[in-house]
């Protein structure tokens, strides 16, 4: 018996829609096995992981808090990945966006006015975009591998933030803790429904960004350009699209959104800068982008799923005493299954019992 892949004449619409769900199901199964090995009742564990966080209002708010950066970064990355630009440094762009956006409330705390918050958001966007511009420019100008440069810049950004909060930006009244002063009232991104929970406007930005990018990708020439250059650079060149401009465009858009995510997180959820402001949102957003099949609307759903895995990790730690690190392992596993299931979109799996070699057929049409 042999198993082989047979290329479909065209991509399967059925499996395009179904593959993320198959992947989620397989991840849950694998997760159940993992919990069994950890000596926990799998049904209980999965309940605490994926159901319990959805039962309380405050917890739904937390879900929106965690989903906001994941969706914002994920939709930006989808532009990059669709155009074949491998930006994996969103974590760094998130951090630099947060730092750039925090300049006003931290370095000029006396400047208090309703205009501070909009300025912070713009500065965060510019900061993230500028930081993403470095690997983009290096790739467009010298052909430098953007995967490695964008990732190296994550470490540089983390160290830069660490230096700021321990050095020049340390809170003068903070008893030497490595953190900046708390943002003043004008610098706080407001909550959506303060009465019921912590969800801030970052979640609204995320939904808006996803809708706008969905429109751009599916209904405009720019969206066509993104996808054409990604699928066939040669055809893109014939159509008169510039590859290097697309590199810059894709990186700037995704960097800007990562920067917005960074400043929203700091100003909406944390309220100051600390040495660690992200539990790996920039990397988890890569999983979000693929689980959402690089479609901004799908990415909204995918962002909520992965936000749930963060919450579930915390909930499971409290209720059944498994480490919240389980969540990270879960997330990595999910990406494997997503990628494996995507194979079904382009290929059929044929199981044949042929044992003797098939006689050579006459070449049909082109070889």
């Amino acid at each position: 018996m042999r198993v082989e892949l047979v290329k479909r004449p065209q991509r399967s619409a059925l499996f395009s829609a179904l593959s993320p769900f198959i992947a989620l199901l397989l991840t849950l199964l694998a997760g159940a096995v993992m919990f069994l090995f950890l000596g926990k009742n799998p049904a209980d564990a999965l309940y605490y992981f994926f159901i319990e966080p959805l039962l309380e209002t405050w917890s739904l708010h937390e879900l929106a808090v965690k989903a906001a950066p994941l969706i914002l970064i994920g939709v930006g990355l989808s532009i990059c990945y669709l155009s074949n630009n491998w930006n994996i440094g969103a974590e760094g762009q998130f951090i630099i966006g947060a730092i750039a956006g925090s300049i006003l409330p931290v370095a000029f705390p006396g400047f208090q006015s309703p205009i501070v918050l909009p300025l912070m958001l713009v500065m965060g966007i510019v900061g993230g975009a500028a930081y993403a511009g470095i690997p983009a420019w290096l790739k467009a100008r010298f052909g430098t591998n953007e995967i490695l440069t964008s990732l190296m810049l994550v470490y540089v950004a983390q160290l830069f933030l660490d230096w700021l909060v321990r050095g020049p930006w340390r809170n003068p009244e903070g008893f030497n803790f490595p953190e900046t002063r708390n943002f003043h009232a004008y610098a706080i991104l407001p909550e959506i429904w303060p009465a019921s929970g912590r969800a801030h406007w970052g979640f609204v930005f995320a939904i808006l960004a996803a809708l706008v990018l969905w429109f751009v990708l599916s209904r405009t020439l720019k969206g066509f350009e993104v996808k054409l250059i990604g699928q066939s650079p040669r055809a893109g060149r014939f159509a008169g699209f510039s590859r290097s401009r697309m590199i810059i465009f894709a990186f700037l858009v995704s960097g800007a959104l990562a920067g917005l995510a960074g400043i929203s997180e700091v100003s909406g959820a944390i309220g100051q800068l600390r040495p660690a402001i992200s539990p790996g949102y920039g990397f988890t957003a890569i999983i979000v982008a693929f689980l959402g099949r690089l479609n901004p609307l799908g990415i909204i759903a995918a962002g909520l799923v992965l936000a749930l895995s963060y919450l579930g990790g915390e909930a499971a730690q409290i209720s059944i005493g498994v480490s919240d690190k389980v969540a990270r392992a879960f997330q990595g596993m999910l990406l494997f299954f997503v990628l494996a299931c995507d194979t079904l979109i382009h290929y059929r799996i044929r199981v044949s019992r042929r044992l003797v070699a098939k006689p050579i057929e006459a070449p049909a049409g082109h070889a």
């Binding site: 290096l138 440069t149 470490y155 999983i287 990595g332 990406l335 494997f336």
Partner: protein
């Protein structure tokens, strides 16, 4: 003083060298595995945990090699049998490895580990100046150099090496020649995983004998950059690895001496150096084009 600095440079360079040498073979076969960091961190936790629980450092080293290869097998199954995108799958391997190692390693945080002792080659290691440097290192230092020689010999002086390079340069022609492209790539990918696992074990059993989450700190990615830096030639990887070892150790010594530069800036030097090196290499486009395995990253499905 200088001698001890040179010795520490060797310990910083060895894991980079081992991991990069594995990835070089993988890329020469036309596969880009971005999961080096993930396989390396799994090697680090496996090596540490097995050594600590069994009391045998060597058992830890072998377990790390096996786990690295097993992790690479997951990558191989996805990219070679299911023809998934190699970049995305490699990233998945890294994310999964970082997550899983954090989970498995939780009970080992802060526990003193075992260290792989160095071996003294009698008489030679007593030579002045070079003795300790060349003949009194840990065993894996010698393994890393032997590995380089073996890979160089294998790739450029054996028939199997020629086949592997053929697969990497043009998988369609290699297939037409009757070479089993997928099988060759499976073997190369698993060799790469074994090397990454060994490099991880080096970190947790020689370089700093303890377990810290994310202790690879980007070394897997630097190893990937080294392969590009070396334009896919084994001996140039040695030069690159020692250059980076030098930068790493140099900045550590500068920190210890209390140079008036923020320690974070010094710590970021290896990463900035990686970027600088990549830019310098890629500016010479012809050289890069000439040396890059032509099928690198391209999927292959045998036509039947």
């Amino acid at each position: 003083m200088l001698e001890s600095i040179l010795i520490t440079i060797a310990t910083a360079a060895t894991p980079l060298l081992i991991a990069a040498m594995g990835e070089l073979v993988v890329e020469r076969s036309g596969v880009l595995n971005l999961g080096v960091e993930g396989m390396m961190i799994m090697g680090a936790i496996t090596g540490f945990a097995v050594a600590l629980t069994t009391g045998s450092v060597w058992l830890g080293v072998f377990a790390a090699i096996l786990v690295g290869a097993a992790f690479a097998l997951i990558f191989g199954f996805l990219t070679l049998s299911l023809v998934t995108n190699q970049v995305a799958t490699g990233l998945a391997l890294t994310l999964f490895g970082l997550g899983l190692s954090g989970m498995l390693g939780e009970g080992f945080v802060g526990r003193p580990g075992l260290r792989l002792g160095r071996i003294d080659i009698p008489f030679l290691s007593d030579l002045p100046f070079v003795g300790r440097l060349l003949f009194g290192q840990d065993p894996l230092f010698y393994v890393s150099l032997l590995l380089t020689a073996a890979v160089a010999y294998f790739l450029f002086a054996t028939r199997a090496g020629l086949m592997l390079r053929a697969v990497g340069d043009n998988h369609t022609s290699a297939h037409a020649q009757g070479i089993n492209v997928v099988a060759v790539r499976y073997l190369a990918v698993m060799f790469g995983g074994a090397c990454a696992g060994l490099a991880g074990a080096y970190l947790s059993l020689v370089y700093t004998p303890q377990w810290v989450e994310n202790m690879t700190a980007g070394r897997g990615w630097i190893a990937l950059a080294l392969v590009v830096f070396a334009s896919w030639r084994p001996w140039r990887v040695v030069a690159g690895a020692y250059l980076f070892g030098g930068v790493t150790i140099g900045q550590l010594h500068a920190q210890a001496l209390g140079v008036a530069i923020p320690s974070q800036l010094l710590s970021s030097l290896p990463y900035l150096a990686t970027i600088a090196v990549l830019v310098i290499i890629s500016r010479n486009r012809r050289l890069t084009m000439m040396n890059t395995p032509a099928s690198l990253g391209r999927p292959f499905v045998p036509e039947r």
